[in-house]
Subunit: 332 residues, 2 copies
């Protein structure tokens, strides 16, 4: 990424002041942070007397529907627009909007260190746990009031990206911003209930089935959950109903590697691997043609694999990497 | 409670300065907040050159075992001791220590508005989400450094009592204290993993059984989970393994009242009721001789009740209160 393209916070504030009509792009499969950033920025622009509309490749999940009422969606698409992307690390993540907008992004506001620098200018704060922290900083830099609606959007983004202040990305600053947002009077318990505590009955059904079929291997240090097409069909679950299911296997006491296999509609399996130190999840997935982070990674196996073949394949690799990382021999 | 017995924060600090040899009492079935407060206070006293020992009616659960190494346990039980209770709202909650200590408590540091005033003096901050906030304030009042060990104890108490900043008791101050504690360099993600993300295999087994037996009533607005002695025996679970199980039924989409019945060893049932607005959990439990808060309350039914009788009894009351609160008639 070209250093010249980096904006400071005040450059970013100045840039927004100079323009009047904005299109705000969020990433595909939108989450609380990209939407909180998008609608949060739209609220800032509205306070500045500017026009904007937030757009996304995919439909906004029901639980974030309340965002869309928080800011007027009033960009004038017949006039010249300024395109800003929020929480979008790579133009590929624009999904269906990529073709039209990839080369049009004038400003990207992001917190991913992996940002590829596709925008004409980028404001990047990789210390921010959530991109909504950047929007908060921008509000402060622009001396704009953080009202209840803005706080609602920003809190949602911060809470969802940090697992409600639970993950290791949470910093002292994250908490201080949380404090400021709570002081506006928003009902954080209700937001968190919607974001974290509600499961559909069909999800509970599927979880029961998956837990029933859970297997333990390698001195019980590895747990494997397989979600078959039959389970999807019996319960009526779709992939979007399975958010967070990959963390279940690793959450069992003593488990260092949690593996979740989800049978794809077209056959074959999507495999998620979650680990605890010192086991390297990305190394496991790399050996099956996938990749990811050290504690969370993924890979796929094609339709030529049956469930038992897919399980055997991934377990063979899990065992090898565990033995390397733990420097010892494991029994099954 | 006699107003004369209330201590201000500086009274409390002065009192601790005047004494030298302390016994610190925590409540029975100890949780992160009473233990964090107890060992946190012990660390403060150690920094002041005083001696203290933390005691509890029950064994300290494994996941809090690291607390015991944080502060020297060096009270001189052969000399005169000053007895301080932390996070203990009622002398009954001292459990097996009640008989020996109930009338001996010279200072109680608590955050429960329901504190009955059994101690000679009480420092009460009912706005504190966790009692560890009071210990934090005390450290500040005493100008004592908050080091990593102290931060570890206080963060654990705050995080466990707020569901990691998720519940409605969380305030802006809670977050600001969280920020200060993180700045000491503690690994909050690891603490939260131990506190929230690890389940024993026997717990998972029992949860599966309980979910299999879950019932829905009153247009699916009420979910009932019954944990029978048979489930305890089959899985090997004890009551301490069931922490948080009461929140499962309410977490199902559309459920407003979650009821959990746990069969007692001596027969009869311990019943927990969790609700969402506008249903009043304390009103439900009051009608069966129990009590509690508006969203979380409890009651008991004696050994004369079979599982089906107990369920019928509580459901009758749930229906009546729901119909009052929802101002409508429900069908089963």
């Amino acid at each position: 990424m070209n250093k010249n393209h980096f904006f400071s916070l005040s450059d970013t504030a100045d840039f927004l002041k100079q323009k009047d009509n904005f299109v705000i792009l969020t990433h595909q499969n939108p989450d609380g942070d990209t939407l909180g950033s998008g609608f949060g920025l739209a609220m800032l622009l509205d306070k500045m007397g500017k026009k904007s509309t937030v757009i996304c490749s995919d439909e906004i999940p029901k639980k974030y529907a309340y965002f869309t009422d928080l800011a007027p969606q009033n960009a004038d698409f017949n006039a010249e627009t300024t395109v800003v992307a929020v929480d979008v690390a790579d133009s590929k993540l624009l999904g269906k909007l990529e073709k039209e907008y990839a080369s049009e992004v004038q400003l990207c506001i992001d917190h991913h260190i992996s940002n590829i620098g596709y925008a004409k200018a980028t404001y990047l704060d990789s210390n921010a746990a959530a991109n909504c922290e950047c929007i908060y900083d921008l509000a402060k830099a622009l001396s704009l009031e953080i009202d209840k609606n803005l706080a609602l959007a920003l809190y949602t983004g911060i809470s969802t990206d940090t697992g409600c202040f639970r993950f290791s990305n949470t910093t002292a600053k994250t908490h201080r911003i949380g404090a400021d947002l709570i002081e506006t009077g928003i009902d954080t318990a209700e937001i968190n209930r919607i974001m974290f505590e509600t499961k559909s009955r069909i999800r509970v059904e599927l979880e029961k089935m998956a837990l029933d079929a859970m297997e333990f291997h390698f001195e019980d240090k590895c747990a494997v959950i397989t979600v078959t097409r039959e389970m999807y069909e019996k319960t009526g679950c779709k992939d979007e109903d399975l958010e967070g299911i990959t963390s279940i296997s690793r959450s069992i006491e003593g488990v260092m590697v949690g593996v979740t296999l989800r049978e794809r509609e077209e056959g074959g399996f999507k495999i998620s691997v979650r680990t605890y130190p010192p086991v390297d999840a990305s190394e496991i997935c790399k050996r099956v043609g996938g990749g990811g982070h050290i504690r969370a990674a993924g890979c796929q196996l094609g339709a030529e694999y049956s469930a038992s073949m897919a399980k055997a394949k991934i377990l063979e690799v899990v065992k090898a990497v565990m033995e390397e990382n733990l420097a010892g021999t494991l029994t099954d």
